[in-house]
């Protein structure tokens, strides 16, 4: 089993505190880099929805996404009864947390753990206020309900303990069921496929149901065939279920998606996952095409994160015998 160093995680109990627009992680005395990395400075001036929306388009930039979430949060605070602004703020918070979760995933040894803890700690403080605000709304709106569910899944993914994570997943199932019964394509199809994912992944005795998860994912795929994250996940499930043709179909669709229809970072990440799935399928042609598309995307947009796993503590992605990367 791999672990990170004592020093790097000595400040695991970091608490994020908000000082104006500047987030600072406590514990700087032991890990100064962690505190520094969790800081960000947002554009000056009064928050506006257009400024926040502009920041959100930079889906490769954790600080831009953090500022977008903060700006939307400020806007919601200014008009707490405006449910549309609140749901927008919660969606921005979810996007930011999901981005941090993505970086956390690739930080295999928790080297940046204090930074991720500080960032999600700060975002989830705001998110829980927004989620509670939406919960009191008397509008039975699929997007509202789905946002609450997706927030529960996002914040608890790494930040919460396992018991809370399990409770939030089960609460999300109930909310997502309600949301998709109102509108099965809510949040660009994300509500439906996330429902399928939770059902598929939870153990049966803890509220999961693999069969039901598969049915829902198939339905989600038919309804939203151009959602890159859905395509990659549905292909992954097909591989697990030995449905090679189904997986190839979805990966071929993923190949056809253009950056204009998806966030750059999201698309690059799904192409990376898709390429790896194609390798597992033994489809070298598809693997090469997906890899080529991702390489072109990275060349055109060098700001996109490469998502290379870090090497530490005698583990790394590079094979020392062949010199080849993971």
């Amino acid at each position: 089993m791999k672990t990170t160093s004592n020093v790097a995680v000595a400040t695991a109990a970091l608490v994020a505190i908000l000082l104006g627009n500047r987030v600072v992680a406590e514990g700087a005395a032991t890990v100064p880099d962690a505190a520094k990395d969790a800081e960000y400075t947002c554009p000056a001036g009064t928050p506006t929805s257009s400024k926040a929306a502009e920041l959100e388009t930079k889906d490769w930039d954790k600080n831009a996404l953090a500022c977008a979430a903060d700006e939307w949060f400020a806007l919601s605070n200014a008009s707490p009864k405006d449910a549309d602004t609140t749901v927008r703020a919660l969606q921005a918070t979810i996007a930011y947390i999901n981005h941090v979760n993505g970086s956390w995933d690739y930080d295999l040894y928790g080297i940046h753990g204090p930074e991720w803890l500080a960032r999600v700690g700060h975002a989830s403080k705001q998110g829980s206020i927004l989620e509670a605000r939406l919960a009191t709304s008397d509008r039975e709106d699929a997007a509202f309900i789905a946002a609450r569910a997706l927030y529960k899944l996002a914040w608890s993914e790494h930040f919460a303990d396992r018991k809370t994570r399990l409770e939030e997943s089960r609460a999300a199932i109930a909310l997502l069921e309600r949301a998709v019964s109102l509108n099965s394509t809510a949040v660009d199809g994300n509500a439906l496929w996330q429902l399928g994912k939770v059902y598929y992944e939870l153990p049966d005795f803890a509220g999961g149901d693999s069969g039901k998860g598969l049915q829902i994912l198939n339905r989600a795929y038919r309804q939203s065939p151009n959602n890159p994250a859905l395509l990659r996940y549905a292909a992954y499930v097909d591989v697990q279920e030995n449905d090679k043709a189904g997986a190839q179909e979805k990966l071929a669709k993923l190949l056809s998606i253009e950056p204009g229809n998806a966030g750059l970072q999201v698309l690059a990440d799904q192409l990376k996952g898709g390429k790896e799935l194609a390798a597992r399928l033994g489809d070298s042609g598809l693997e090469k095409q997906l890899a080529g598309k991702r390489t072109r995307l990275l060349d055109q947009h060098p700001q996109i994160l490469r998502r290379l796993p870090s090497a530490v503590n005698l583990h790394q992605g590079t094979d020392p015998i062949t010199g080849k990367d993971d």
């Binding site: 672990t3 990170t4 160093s5 080297i111 153990p203 790394q316």
Partner: protein, 470 residues
């Protein structure tokens, strides 16, 4: 100089070279025994040795790191009337014995108090690690990695921060008759194939024995691991891994953990007093959510055969407790699974307490692994000596990556800053590695790596400056 003189000189030189070559060949063919006494250096003997030599170490205390990158060396400790040769890191040195040579035997050494690894093989094939005592605190006590065809037997390994015996990315290894305790995991086979873990006593760890498949590593599968005839008891010490580590998601109190590996057989073990569960079978992503679509995270085609279970699951911890809570249970079970994967089976389902094994089939009548007596290869595997680039990567992984990462502070500074300082000056960096000077007060002093030969230090330096990027 006239022509006759020149011819004479050339003949003389040729004669000298031929004589030297003959001596070298003869020396290699007639293996020698080199004796190391207290006050002398084991590494100095290794440096003098040629492939095939035997180094015998007299009882006493030695404080150094021993690095063996020659083939067929035997490092044998002489234990006399209970007095051992002790290799002591004094909680200051990083590594005890490191090998990257093939056909190495390390036996009868008491290795203790190294901050990194007690006894590590990196890329060594056909190795034998026998009758050693490896004592923490350390990170890993016995850690073979990237090797084929090994035997780890009759060792006592304890008080590791992570695994006491950790077989990583290896093939064809027998781990037999060892005792492990006081560690996060007693024995672990990770991203490895054909591993026989038999007859060991693994007790008082957080996890007794585990077979695992982790994401983000070069080897993408882990299969054919037999866990058989072990005594696995009282593995309930708290998981002390630092928060943020992957292992923190793993609860203590597990007898046997099967995490994403395929064709794993658990048979004829005595599994008692493990407070979370006797055997826990789960997908890799449940303990390590790192994305790696090249691995199949689900455990497939595993067999839980006859084992003796007693008094497991009395005080479930962590994710096991959470799962049980979700199922409305307060007490743990003997065999618990998240229920993912295909083709798994179990015997005696009616007499064993289980949870989540609904999709497991009944194993075929008479199913047993008894016909398999070893998973080592019949003959030594062919082994080619590593070139300088390979040595550079292997040594970086074994020695440097415990303290340094590419772009982040760990114990030492990020390598990206080292690269900025040295640029293309590999020779300069190689010299500094041998005799580091404490320059930056915000980092601990780096131990001298002068046990590495100048050639190996240069290979590592070149790897850091030319190849390493993340």
């Amino acid at each position: 100089m006239n022509q006759t003189q020149t011819v004479r000189n050339v003949r003389k030189a040729a004669h000298t070279i031929a004589l030297a070559l003959t001596l070298v060949v003869c020396r290699a063919l007639s293996a020698e025994t080199l004796i190391v006494k207290p006050g002398q250096s084991i590494q100095a003997a290794v440096t003098r040795a040629v492939p095939g030599d035997r180094i015998e170490v007299e009882p006493g205390v030695y404080s150094e790191t021993v690095f063996i990158d020659k083939d067929n060396i035997t490092l044998h400790g002489i234990v006399r009337h209970g007095d051992w040769p002790i290799l002591d890191g004094n909680n200051k040195l990083d590594n005890g014995v490191l090998t990257s040579g093939h056909g190495v035997t390390i036996e009868y050494l008491w290795i203790r108090h190294f901050k990194g690894n007690g006894l590590m093989t990196q890329g060594s094939n056909n190795y034998r690690l026998l009758h050693n005592v490896v004592e923490g605190p350390c990170f890993y006590a016995i850690f073979p990695q990237y090797g084929k065809n090994g035997l780890i037997a009759y060792n006592v390994a304890f008080n590791s921060e992570d695994a006491a015996i950790y077989v990583g990315m290896s093939d064809n290894v027998d781990v037999r008759y060892n005792e492990t305790f006081g560690s996060f995991t007693g024995i672990e086979g990770e991203n490895s194939h054909n591993i026989l873990i038999e007859g060991n006593h693994s007790h008082d760890n957080s996890i007794g024995i585990s077979a695992s498949l982790l994401p983000g590593l070069p080897l993408k599968t882990s299969a054919n691991i037999i866990i058989r005839r072990n005594v696995v008891e009282n593995n309930n010490i708290p998981n002390k891994l630092p928060p943020g580590s992957v292992g923190t998601l793993v609860p203590s109190g597990l007898g046997v953990l099967v995490l994403g590996t395929d064709r794993t057989i658990v048979e004829d073990n005595l599994i008692v007093n493990n407070e979370s569960a006797g055997i826990y079978i789960a997908e890799s992503s449940s303990m390590d959510p790192s994305p790696d679509e090249k691995i199949d995270p689900f455990p497939n085609n595993g067999q839980v055969l006859r084992n003796l279970f007693r008094n497991n699951g009395t005080r479930p911890q962590g994710v096991v407790a959470d799962m049980l809570d979700a199922a409305g249970l307060k007490q743990g079970v003997d065999v618990m699974s998240t229920g993912k994967g295909h083709g798994n089976c179990i015997v005696d389902r009616d007499i064993v307490r289980t949870l989540g094994t609904g999709r497991f089939e009944e194993c075929p009548t008479g199913a047993t692994s008894n016909a398999i007596t070893s998973l080592k290869t019949r003959e030594p595997v062919g082994s080619v000596a590593y070139n300088p680039e390979q040595k550079g990567r292997l040594v970086y992984l074994a020695v440097c990556s415990g303290c340094h990462t590419w772009d982040s502070r760990l114990l030492g500074p990020p390598m990206i800053t080292v690269k900025a300082i040295y640029g293309k000056d590999a020779a300069g960096l190689a010299n500094w590695i041998a005799k580091p000077v404490h320059k930056r007060t915000d980092y601990p002093e780096m131990p001298a790596q002068d046990y590495l030969s100048p050639e190996v230090r240069l290979s590592v330096a070149k790897y850091i400056l030319n190849e390493l990027s993340h």
